[in-house]
């Protein structure tokens, strides 16, 4: 505010606005009141602001509503529907098995639910959708390029139905990727997925599912090559143990909306499975076909 009198403070409109709304403490309010009473410029600003307030409020109210354009709504509903559909497919034809209940030692933990083979046959392919995010998740999961082999026993196995070796692959982020721990416990979960390795490990950084950053592995170490194989995996899981887990984890993230936190090669009621703990806390047992085109994540059971 220009002023010919440098001793008079310029009009502070914020202060006047606060004063008019009664928001100033007693001391500052008295100061502003004195200035309004003694300085015509302050008085004028306060008067104009007081008179303008209803018009501004009305203008704001009148501008408050804005119909969502049809194309935005369509896009939004379509996006939500994709997730609903993926979730529905993951849980489609879910039933609780007696075996799961009887083997369930912790009654506070939801029982595992099993999807029948018949229903998996009916499951439609979503491979084309998954393919769009799979490349990004290769890096996210760190399977394809980022897991160094560091074997050590984890001693977490209980009630194992096989004598598979217990190993853990140390998480080691690849350049631009994030690794997740992979264990080969050989444990038979027998309906009790709560025995899965804890998900309380540091969660890998999760990129926005809407903003995949395609970065497929190339060259040595890419999915399907020997360099990222998982030794000691149960028979029947060779494909997943030799790089196929990447696409499998992509399927899981797509369907469950949460990133994989760790994976354990073992069994579920005698069937070779990989039990994946997601960052959401969900635990999913997947079969040997997980990640195959048209087979989705091949969910065998989930506690979610």
């Amino acid at each position: 505010v220009t002023s010919s009198d440098s001793t008079v403070p310029p009009v502070d409109l914020d202060l006047v606005a606060d004063y008019l709304d009664g928001l100033l403490p007693a001391g500052p309010a008295e100061v502003v009141e004195r200035r309004i009473g003694s300085d015509p410029r302050w008085a004028n600003a306060a008067d104009q602001l007081r008179r303008a307030a209803p018009a501004v409020a009305r203008a704001l109210r009148d501008t408050g509503t804005e119909p969502m354009p049809d194309d935005v709504l369509d896009r939004l509903l379509s996006s939500l529907a994709d997730r609903a559909e993926a979730s529905a497919m993951a849980h489609e034809r879910v039933e609780t098995t007696n075996a799961a209940n009887t083997a369930h030692e912790d009654h506070n933990t939801p029982p595992a639910r099993v999807i029948t083979l018949d229903d998996r046959r009916r499951r439609r392919s979503i491979w084309s959708d998954v393919a769009k995010v799979a490349a990004a998740l290769i890096v996210l999961a760190g399977i394809g390029t980022g897991i160094g082999v560091g074997l050590r026993g984890n001693g977490a196995t209980k009630n194992s139905s096989t004598a598979a070796s217990s190993v853990e692959k140390a998480p080691q982020a690849a350049s631009g990727g994030v690794a997740i721990p992979i264990t080969v416990s050989g444990h038979d979960y027998a309906g009790d997925l709560s025995a899965a390795p804890s998900s309380s490990i540091p969660a890998p950084h999760v990129q926005s599912p809407n903003l995949p950053q395609p970065n497929p592995p190339t060259g040595a170490g890419a999915a399907g090559t020997d360099s990222n194989s998982v030794p000691g995996a149960p028979a029947g899981l060779e494909r997943l143990a030799s790089g196929g887990l990447t696409a499998c984890l992509a399927e899981l993230q797509q369907q469950f909306g949460a990133a994989p936190a760790r994976a354990d090669f073992g069994y579920y009621e005698g069937r070779p499975t990989v039990v994946v703990t997601l960052t959401s806390g969900a635990i999913v047992a997947v079969g040997a076909d997980c990640g195959l085109p048209g087979r989705g994540p091949d969910v065998v059971a989930t506690n979610h």
Binding site: R51, P54, V56, A81, A88
Partner: protein
């Protein structure tokens, strides 16, 4: 298309009439329970208000569309964690506001046209050049803009907005006092208030005289 075990594929291409007989909470609970239509109904019911919040806050159609989408996907997934401490619409607004704030923060590296300390004598602003409200809002600091959008445009309670933004109630009130003052300048309602005699009725908008009331 319903699954055999009660799970269903959401028929998103089917617009389900909303007769308003089901409350927001009931819709959200139905969604959590697996009702394939419930969340879509909720979205359709509140879409315009949520859209307005995003659009007015971000000032960009595409940014707003992305923010609303991100927010509602989050709400879709987190519906089972809704505790009912606030209204569903407040909860949805909070999620949309957070998505918008994320984008505002990311955009802060961009140069803004935020007003400097308001010079009430700014001679270049009058009715001939006054911005419309939408454009004027974009010139406000983000914190004032969001408060105005939620309180003055959407009519949300100050206390809810304070909780939503994580600031004291008094801060929201102050933002809702200062924001309109700046808007009044940009909209041409304050013309040369630095002059000691006030504004003439011929030279600009003539808003009705009314006592200014504080917010509660």
């Amino acid at each position: 298309v319903h699954g055999r075990a009660g799970w269903a594929i959401w028929p998103h291409n089917t617009a389900v009439a909303d007769d308003g007989s089901t409350s927001d909470v009931e819709l959200l609970r139905a969604h959590v329970a697996g009702d394939p239509d419930a969340f879509a109904t909720l979205v359709r019911r509140h879409r315009d208000r949520l859209w307005a919040v995003a659009l007015r806050t971000l000032g960009d159609r595409e940014e707003a569309a992305d923010a609303v989408q991100d927010a509602l996907i989050s709400a879709f997934r987190a519906a089972d964690r809704f505790r009912g401490d606030s209204a569903v619409t407040t909860w949805l607004h909070r999620i949309v506001v957070n998505a918008c704030l994320d984008r505002v923060r990311r955009a802060q590296a961009r140069p803004t046209t935020e007003l400097p300390d308001v010079d009430v004598a700014a001679p270049e602003i009058d009715t001939d050049t006054a911005l419309d409200v939408t454009k004027a809002l974009a010139h406000l600091p983000a914190d004032q803009r969001i408060a105005l959008v939620l309180v003055d445009m959407q009519g949300l309670p100050v206390a809810d907005v304070a909780e939503m933004l994580g600031v004291p109630v008094g801060t929201v009130k102050s933002r809702c006092a200062r924001g309109p003052a700046r808007l009044a300048v940009m909209l041409g309602y304050l013309r040369n208030p630095d002059a000691p005699t006030g504004v003439s009725s011929e030279s600009g908008p003539n808003p009705p005289t009314s006592e200014r009331g504080g917010r509660s």
